[in-house]
Amino acid sequence: MTPLIEVKKLNVTFQGEEGPIYAVQDVSFDLAPGETLALLGESGCGKSVTMKSLMRLHPEHKTQISGQIQVAGQDLLSMKSSALSKLRGKTISMVFQEPMLAFDPVFTIGDQIIEAVRRHEGCSQADARQRALEMLERVRIPSAAKRLKAYPHEMSGGMRQRAMIALALACRPQILLADEPTTALDATVQIQVLLLLKELQRELGMSMIFVTHDVGVAIEVADRTAVMYAGRIIEQGPVQEVLSHPQHPYTQGLLAATVHPGMDRHQPLPAIPGSPPQLLRRMEDCAFAPRCPHAQEACSLPLPAVDHQAARWSRCIAHTSA
């Protein structure tokens, strides 16, 4: 099966005030139709930057993108802006972390959905309105007809995120990018939104990339996971395997620092010592080595290449050189 998204050797560099920031380095992954991939990692590791690259949403004059991104068979990075805007919201769509910030505050929810539908489907105002209403009902917003006329600030956080999902799915995209869609929500609402997303994904047959820092959420939604650290993917594979038998010491540390049922609540959580490196240089060696309990001398040498096509791989010499 040809993948819907194919990313090869993606590098994203921002022009910072004190020199370049290598936010994403040498990232490669695929996404098959109907599949869910979880991008897992702590804040600042390049998850969101990777996601935004998939829609080319970075400010162009300050960003350098190299590598290859194929979305639904099209070469994203060489695309003209008119073709790009046709793709955005139609083929590939995004749910943002904070719906309060991602909605225009002075337009109603309904108008914003209608506007997107009319842009991509070219239908009449009445038809677009009908679609908007259907979508709000589909994400189970109570009294949907009334909510069409609501402004974003008039809804609760959970409702807003549902409306955001309705907006993102209004044009039946093939790919949904969800950038920590539940992080800003209450714990109980989180689960509801998560289940809703899973359900809609099945119904509409979409592929999904789900960015999260929450291991539990990744297990809940994803088929496969890619763990990111310091701008790179350091381990990748089926979610169950990666999280039950992590190969990379960072993944091991991340899992050890996660709360799970049945653990001794008087025991302090083991934290990974130190903090992630600043992304001020291109790294050929292992970025995690300074914090790694198993670091050897060989870790400061450039890492051997990994086979990105493999079902399971990790970027650690303990596993690549074997």
Partner: protein, 317 residues
């Protein structure tokens, strides 16, 4: 909505009354007796008393105030001490000329300011931004009476392209929107437009730049919307802030044109005010200040209502 407008209107009434009180008491706060302009210095005491009675100045202050307000509400602002004509007629005429000038300046200043500000915000940090900011700061800083004189020297005296004085053929009462009159409007309008242009430029730049930095603009792009549509979103978000600044600036154009109108002998309220001050024509002075202040209050009310109509986040209660 109607209830909201009505309530806002009710809030404006006490402000209007307070303004009227200030206008009225100006006469008594200013040094010198308001009647010294009328009464000869060597007039006998009984003549002074008779004149005081004729003007109603012998009654208690608050009664004077109440009757002044009562008549003002009915459109009677008294009789000019200098000319003997009803003050209201002179003010109406002057006000229409001032409004003409203010509208022309506002049109130039606001459209220029919006354009420059938007350009500066979109091209932040480039030479376009710096040029627009430089124009804005210069516009705000240059004293406009001085600018008026310079423009007169260049365009009237040196080049002889435009007239430097008056409002065109027929004087103050015969304004028309034809070239013979419009050429008289150009120099004062251009002189006056620089301050509002500078201030609107800075406001638009700051507001639009902030909006451009917000996440929802990225989100609009992520929905595949085209540029004109995104521009519309940005404009609607910027409108309430920019509008309130423009409302205030229009108020300043109405009331702050004294120097420009004097430089260009433009027969507006500023020019009339200047005359009234030098002639110590108290009823005229009070009348002009009151009318201008009322315009300011009304303008603020209008801006308030428009802002609420445009921004759903302002509570309508």
């Amino acid at each position: 909505m109607f209830v909201f407008i009505f309530r806002r209107f009710l809030f404006a009434l006490p402000i209007a009354l307070a303004v009227a009180a200030v206008c009225f008491s100006l006469v008594h706060l200013a040094p010198g007796d308001p009647l010294t302009a009328v009464i000869p210095a060597d007039a006998p005491a009984e003549v002074v008393i008779a004149i005081k009675e004729a003007y109603g100045m012998d009654r208690p202050l608050w009664i004077q105030f109440v009757s002044w307000v009562q008549r003002a509400v009915q459109g009677d602002l008294g009789v000019s001490v200098a000319t003997g004509r009803p003050v209201m007629g002179d003010i109406q005429l002057a006000l229409s000329n001032t409004l003409t000038l203010a509208f022309a300046s506002a049109f130039l200043g606001f459209s220029g300011g919006i354009l420059l500000g938007a350009l500066a915000a979109v091209y932040r940090g480039t030479w376009i931004d710096k040029a627009a900011t430089a124009v804005a700061i210069t516009g705000v800083s240059v004293p406009h009476y001085w600018l008026g004189l310079i423009l007169v020297i260049i365009f009237s005296v040196q080049l002889d392209w435009l007239p430097s004085m008056g409002a065109g053929p027929g004087g103050s009462a015969n304004w028309a929107w034809d070239w013979a009159h419009l050429r008289h409007l150009i120099l004062p309008a251009v002189t006056m437009c620089f301050i509002p242009m500078g201030i609107v430029t800075r406001t638009v730049r700051a507001t639009v730049a902030e909006i451009l930095n917000s996440e929802f603009v990225t989100a609009l792009q992520a929905r595949g919307l085209r540029r004109p549509r995104i521009t519309l979103h940005i404009a609607k978000n910027a409108a309430p802030t920019v509008l309130s600044v423009m409302g205030l600036q229009f108020g300043y154009l109405l009331g702050g044109s004294i120097l420009v109108e004097t430089v260009f002998s433009w027969p507006g309220t500023g020019f009339l005010l200047n005359t009234a001050i030098f002639q110590r024509d108290i009823p005229l002075l009070q009348g002009i200040i009151l009318v201008l202040a009322m315009f300011f209050v009304a303008l603020n009310l209008l801006v308030d209502v428009l802002q609420t109509l445009m921004d759903p986040r302002i509570k309508r209660s």
